[in-house]
Symmetry: C2
């Protein structure tokens, strides 16, 4: 393995272990010792990649970008719906994404809170809604910017409740409810019967 | 002051100080010393009322019930809208409520998460939506139970983002956006022009 490749692999092992540790314990209770134990890397390797626990947390938060690739869909609103479904499904199974979301919601526990953990999701949803607007999918007067803020905020809280109540078992069902009640205020009526909001991960186009 | 009255006052001083401390620091970083300093009560008095930091946190979370009294309104949907506006406004100014909401969102930092911090808000909103249904305010097929879960979840996340981005300065505006896009999927069309979703606290009927 080339040196650079090995370094990338080590970094990934650290981020994966840290995601699980932050998901389970939150930032304050997590320790670099625990992250070292779980990742199997040396203390030297960890500090080579990350000068502090804060830096590891930032890398875990950034790792959510992987789950923010929208699927190709003819209808851009369907792409937005499907993105929330696949993100929600991954949140149920992927410890790094779970850790990232916990750190985002609890960011006051380790940094001065700002918009940064939400910048990527905001940008991806906004692009889809702007495209939906250009394609004539949105009702007149719908503002893609404010709807994006609504969807990112609502999704964030919905997954907080779903996690608290049943460890996210009902998360996709709750996302369905969000879209079912939101779409009549967003989409042109002719589209409503064509949009699929069922609580499932749709892979194919 | 009678003894019981004095005890109640001491308890309130502790909960008020603790709300501010939990709001600023989160559960993990908060200390009973800090709560004692800010409340001005003795350590003995604090432990007389609360055996642990967890017990103080539970009392702070319970204190949010005060902010969950719905206003009297002819239209029950207007009462629900106005409740979210007054709760949001109070969240901007009331340290105990801010502490309660932070503890609710971060409950994994001090207890096994469950629905308990959301039970009161769910019950209040559900009652309003059931009344709205009986009064013919809701579209056919609207399920008050799932809409309640949506509103409580969406509000929770919307305030998380508003807090992170501008310390809740734009919270009421974000709540307006929630209702503006949600109402077309909830309310019978004839009601839409009668419902006021402007970002303000409406006191009078």
């Amino acid at each position: 393995m080339a040196q650079q490749e090995r370094a990338l692999r080590t970094r990934r092992l650290i981020v994966e272990a840290a995601g699980a540790v932050f998901d389970e314990m939150g930032f304050a209770a997590a320790t670099t010792n625990e992250i070292i134990d779980r990742s199997g890397v040396t203390r030297g390797a960890l500090y080579f990649h990350f000068p502090s626990k804060e830096a590891i947390a930032d890398a875990v938060v950034a790792a959510q970008d992987e789950a923010l690739v929208p699927p190709e869909r003819e209808l851009r609103l369907q792409a937005a719906i499907d993105l929330t479904m696949s993100f929600g499904d991954r949140l149920r199974h992927d410890p790094v994404l779970r850790g990232a979301v916990r750190l985002a919601v609890e960011q006051a526990s380790y940094r001065k809170p700002d918009a940064s953990p939400y910048v990527s999701s905001h940008a991806v949803v906004l692009r889809l809604l702007r495209e939906a607007e250009h394609h004539g999918e949105l009702l007149p007067g719908v503002d893609p910017e404010e709807v994006t803020a609504l969807i990112v905020g609502a999704f964030t809280g919905i997954q907080v409740l779903s996690q608290a109540i049943n460890n996210r078992a009902d998360l996709l069902g709750r996302v369905t409810v969000l879209w079912r009640y939101l779409l009549p205020g967003l989409a042109v009526p002719a589209l409503l019967p064509r949009l699929n909001t069922a609580p499932e991960v749709r892979i194919a186009q």
